[in-house]
């Protein structure tokens, strides 16, 4: 049997995920749109996965520099994004 190209498999996953995102995000209450933005910002830094793979296996100095830079930037975002989201959500959940 002919192999399906990895691109098409990726595209399948991508299109389905866009639909999931569409329905989930419309349900988010407008009051929490700022936390939504900061939390999506944190999770989009999951590209740290690529940075870690590169940093952990790099042979060349230049690759190492790029990979290290990407790890630092992605972790600023991950920690920063989650911490600022937590701060906001705590404000919304303060007892009256």
């Amino acid at each position: 049997m002919e192999m399906i190209s990895p691109f098409l498999l990726g595209l399948t996953v991508f299109v389905l995920a866009v639909f999931v995102g569409y329905y989930v995000v419309w349900k988010v209450t407008p009051a929490l749109h700022s936390p939504l933005m900061s939390v999506t910002n944190a999770i989009s830094s999951v590209i740290i996965v690529g940075a870690v793979l590169a940093a952990g296996s790099a042979q060349d100095t230049l690759t190492q520099v790029f990979a290290f830079g990407a790890v630092v930037m992605a972790s600023i975002n991950i920690f920063g994004g989650f911490v600022v989201t937590r701060r906001m959500l705590e404000m919304f959940n303060k007892k009256k």
């Binding site: 939390v39 999951v46 930037m73």
Partner: protein
Amino acid sequence: MSANLSALSYLISSVCFILALQGLSSAKTSQRGLTFGIVGMLLAVGTTLASPIVSSYGWILSGLIVGGVIGTVIAKKIQMTALPQLVAAFHSLVGLAAVCVAAAALLEPYAFNIGNIGSIAVGSLVEMGLGVSIGAITFTGSVVAFAKLQGLVSGNPLTFTGQHPLNALLGIALVVLIGLFAASESHTLFWAVTFVSLLLGFLLILPIGGADMPVVISMLNSYSGWAAAGIGFTLGNSLLIITGALVGASGAILSYIMCKGMNRSIFNIILGGFGGDQVAASAGGGKEQRPYKAGSSEDAGFIMKNAKSVIIVPGYGMAVAQAQHALREMGDILKSEGVQVRYAIHPVAGRMPGHMNVLLAEANVPYDDVVELEDINRDFAQTDVAFVIGANDVTNPSAKTDPKSPIYGMPILDVDKAKTVLFVKRSMAPGYAGVDNDLFYQDHTLMLFGDAKKMCEEIIKTLEE
């Protein structure tokens, strides 16, 4: 860790991210949602660290620590009024990180199982080109947005002749370069793609004015997601594809909501040049002065104390004046006098989606007292006092009545239907859109001139007497 096991654990991590977004459907479940997000991220990073290709940990761990400390410190210190700048800065980092990952993948493709130097599959190269270009556009676009929000450059739209043809030319050049790069795997062409994209991101955001920033931030949020998805395609990693798609969709929906809140199309905003800081001054000049009524803090205090219900309409001006705490205190006193007090939020109040809600929450305004436009608009007719503070265009009735008005069609808060309108403002100058507000000259409107914070404090004094 075997490839199958890590794929499984990436799947769990994707599900965690979906649950994180779902948690935000209400304030009660939001903190649980955040925990899911953190668990998903830990799982993703842990799984990657355990993969056999990762052989040295020194650089990774020091990168995590350096980034973690910087991110945590900034996020703890940032003022909530500066939240939009922070988010713009964070978006720029996602973009730049995407560029770096793509570059690393080009230099050492075997680490990602996409071939060897000189023999990367054409498909992977196309994906790499797209990933790096979206990443680079996100980076410079966010840097410009940050500079505008932080006030480092003027919020005015910067336009010059030939702008649109130039951008179109750069866009075409970009597509051609990506094609050539995919056909040749030339490193020079990769950097050419990066350079043109950086330039394009810069030029795309530069002409957009300060008032449109909520749309710009949402758009860049979306781009940062697509950049992550692009890298996911390059590396053949479904976790990155799923997460990128979620974030991309989220940003796109927020952009749509913001555009609708201003009754403008996304093309209009991108091609625009509307919404500067200074448009107002030029528009206000030649008109004759119409009569209006001005009042004092004593008048305002007296009117509100004797009202049954008050709706407060806060805008970004309130946040600039740091008046939210004084405003909440004023609301609390009124409540203790038996007045019903609620806060009405327009979708584009503030500088990013949901910004006003955060600022009010920070000032301890109860979550249930804050109501969105579509839920409160009908109530204005039965309300004794509308207290407008730091908002302007979102209350302008000409958005409904005057087809010639630049803001015609924009959804507004029906403040003019309230029995009395109290309008806190520094002067009679028009708002961002440069349009005069008919509300100022109506019989039931009382203008309260002064700084928003001082005015609230003075009203509190009157109420306490």
